[in-house]
């Protein structure tokens, strides 16, 4: 039943080979996130800053581009941790997938981009609504099953938070995807070790995290989630015929020293001073 690995034989995206350009995109995205958080007085700054490299690497590897955004037959990218919406919008902007004017007007009344990701005609690149945790991996699994039923070799990328893995539905999806060997599916966990109220190891320790995913039938890769080249290499590794999870260790609030690795960075918006440092 298992199809040959869907990532196998695919050409590497030209974008995925250029680390300097990626660094520039990530820096720009980070500035954009800080600016959006400041101007909209928006929470989830830390959650957004930590996932910048992950989102850029996923988009670099995927075939999601302005020309393909409206197509059914393409890779799918799902931000399951929908509270990192600012980073998602900023990453999409770097790939021309969202109008900059929409980000300039972030959270203003009457604009289409909410504080948690929702489907909108204004941004066809958005593949799934999120905001309540624990839905994205199932939605990604559905896209992956759809690819298999159509005989498509397209891929599905799903970015999860670590705290989100407390949700039972994550493990319902993992059990199904593992059992069915949905090799087109890659989950990336933004493993910043901090959830909404406290460190993950205090709230509900996820470790041994990699062993859990392996036991569910996932190929498991653990890496530094700010190492863009390592992320790309892990995403482009030929498929081993089963779903893949990348446990990407990150620093919540990465890039703004005063908030790095703090619970408060989940809630407090950016300050004017952060804009100058970025």
């Amino acid at each position: 039943m298992a199809r040959a690995g869907s990532a196998r034989g695919r050409k590497h995206s030209p974008l995925s080979q250029d680390g300097a350009a990626a660094a520039a995109r990530c820096a720009a995205a980070r500035r954009r996130v800080i600016s959006m958080s400041y101007s909209a007085n928006s929470a989830h700054l830390g959650s957004s800053l930590g996932v910048v490299e992950i989102l850029d690497a996923v988009l670099a590897v995927s075939d999601l581009r302005p020309a393909t955004a409206r197509a059914t037959e393409r890779d799918r990218v799902i931000l399951s941790k929908g509270h990192a919406a600012m980073a998602y919008y900023a990453a999409l902007e770097q790939y021309g997938l969202v109008a900059p004017s929409l980000l300039d007007a972030y959270l203003q009344n009457g604009t289409p981009l909410w504080g948690h990701v929702g489907l909108t005609e204004a941004v066809p690149a958005i593949d799934a609504t999120s905001g309540s945790l624990g839905h994205g991996l199932s939605l990604a699994t559905g896209f992956s099953l759809g690819h298999r039923l159509r005989g498509s070799d397209h891929r599905v990328f799903c970015i999860l938070s670590d705290g989100e893995c407390d949700e039972g539905s994550i493990w319902e999806a993992a059990l199904f995807a593992g059992a069915r060997k949905l090799s087109s599916l890659t989950a990336i966990v933004d493993y910043n070790h901090i959830q909404s109220l406290a460190p993950t190891r205090e709230v509900m320790d996820l470790e041994p995290f990699g062993a859990k995913w392996r036991s569910f039938g996932f190929e498991t890769i653990e890496l530094d989630g700010h190492d863009w080249a390592a992320l790309v290499a892990a995403l482009e590794r030929p498929s081993r015929g089963r779903p893949r999870v990348i446990l990407a260790h990150t620093v919540k609030g990465k890039g703004v020293a005063r908030i790095e690795n703090t619970v408060a960075s989940h809630y407090k918006p950016a300050l004017a001073a952060d804009l100058e440092l970025a």
């Binding site: 799934a128 609504t129 309540s132 199932s138 059990l175």
Partner: protein
């Protein structure tokens, strides 16, 4: 009616390669022919309804026509947020099938009864709620919703339901007279239509002519089609579910819009989990939703109206 909806999907499956059937590991002795017909498009999702609903949403986004199948409470309450966010918020045209409407699963116990499902599903934006009263209604609901871009919940009773027929042209016109009569109107949906037809038969023996109006698609409520069937006679709403169900809300709205000229009584199940075992018929009788109780309520309502009219004249 479980068998019937599987037959309908099976008939479509052979001509429509977009149909995908997901089951939450249920449907023993019903779904096997469908599995044969669909091949890999029949997917047992395991005992994991939340995942099943989200997977169905993404299959719809991928160009498929997904059906998700389970027992009514597991199909609705267990995975409510997945239905809310992934199907309704994302506007994915998934067909949810919940079998065991109302007290269908009688002695299996309250965990398997479905008395709040229609109310909860009707509260969600865009979701169509079909609650057919017999196989003919089911066929017509299925056909009317086949190409509808909205998601739909099919609330399916175990029993076949009494036969009678009338066309459903669209969800908006899905209300019709299953029986004519000028003394009282029994408005019902789903399994209660059969109960009301039996009640009307009993009343006829006493010289009371009861109309039975069936509403197989309760959300959106077919307001105009239903209002057109009101005669000025008193109205009894009968639904195998709790108060606030989409049938009684719709009936009340229709009556209020007319100035509440008709006397009205709303028959629903007590909002409580029964502590003692009962089969379907017993539970219905205890809830006052059986033909005898419906007829008694109709009689009392007619008598009450008479008293009010006399009082008004005095």
């Amino acid at each position: 009616m479980r068998k019937r909806i599987i037959e309908l999907i099976e008939a479509d499956a052979s001509v429509d390669p977009r149909i995908v059937f997901l089951t939450g590991d249920l449907g023993f002795s019903f779904v096997e022919p469908l599995e044969q017909a669909l091949g890999e498009r029949f997917v047992n999702m395991g005992v994991a309804e939340a995942n099943m609903v989200s997977v169905a949403a993404s299959l719809a986004a991928s160009g498929f026509r997904p059906f998700a199948y389970s027992i009514a409470p597991f199909m609705t309450a267990r995975c409510l947020e997945q239905i809310r966010n992934d199907i309704c918020y994302q506007r994915r045209a998934v067909r949810l099938i919940g079998v065991g409407a109302g007290f269908s699963y009688g002695t299996l116990g309250p965990s398997h009864h479905a008395l709040e499902d229609a109310t909860i599903m009707a509260a969600l934006p865009d979701l169509v709620v079909a609650n057919p009263g017999n196989a003919a209604e089911l066929d017509r609901c299925y056909a009317a919703l086949l190409d509808d871009p909205r998601p739909a919940y099919f609330r399916i009773a175990r029993e076949s339901g009494a036969s009678y027929g009338a066309p459903i042209f669209s969800p908006q016109t899905a209300a019709f007279a299953a029986r004519r009569g000028g003394d009282v109107t029994l408005a019902a949906s789903g399994g209660s239509v059969t109960q009301c037809l039996a009640a009307a038969e009993a009343l006829a023996g006493e010289g009371i002519e009861a109309a039975v109006v069936s509403v197989p698609i309760v959300q959106p409520f077919p307001m105009e089609a239903f209002a057109a069937l009101l005669t000025g006679a008193p109205v009894v709403s009968v639904f195998e579910g709790y108060r606030g169900n989409p049938l009684s809300v719709g009936v009340m709205e229709a009556l209020l819009a007319r100035g509440m000229g008709e006397a009205f009584v709303d028959l629903t199940a007590p909002q409580a989990f029964p502590s003692l075992v009962g089969d379907t018929e017993t539970l219905r009788r205890r809830a006052g939703l059986d033909p005898a109780a419906i007829a008694a309520q109709a009689r009392a309502l007619i008598a009450g109206c008479g008293a009010r009219k006399i009082g008004a004249r005095a």
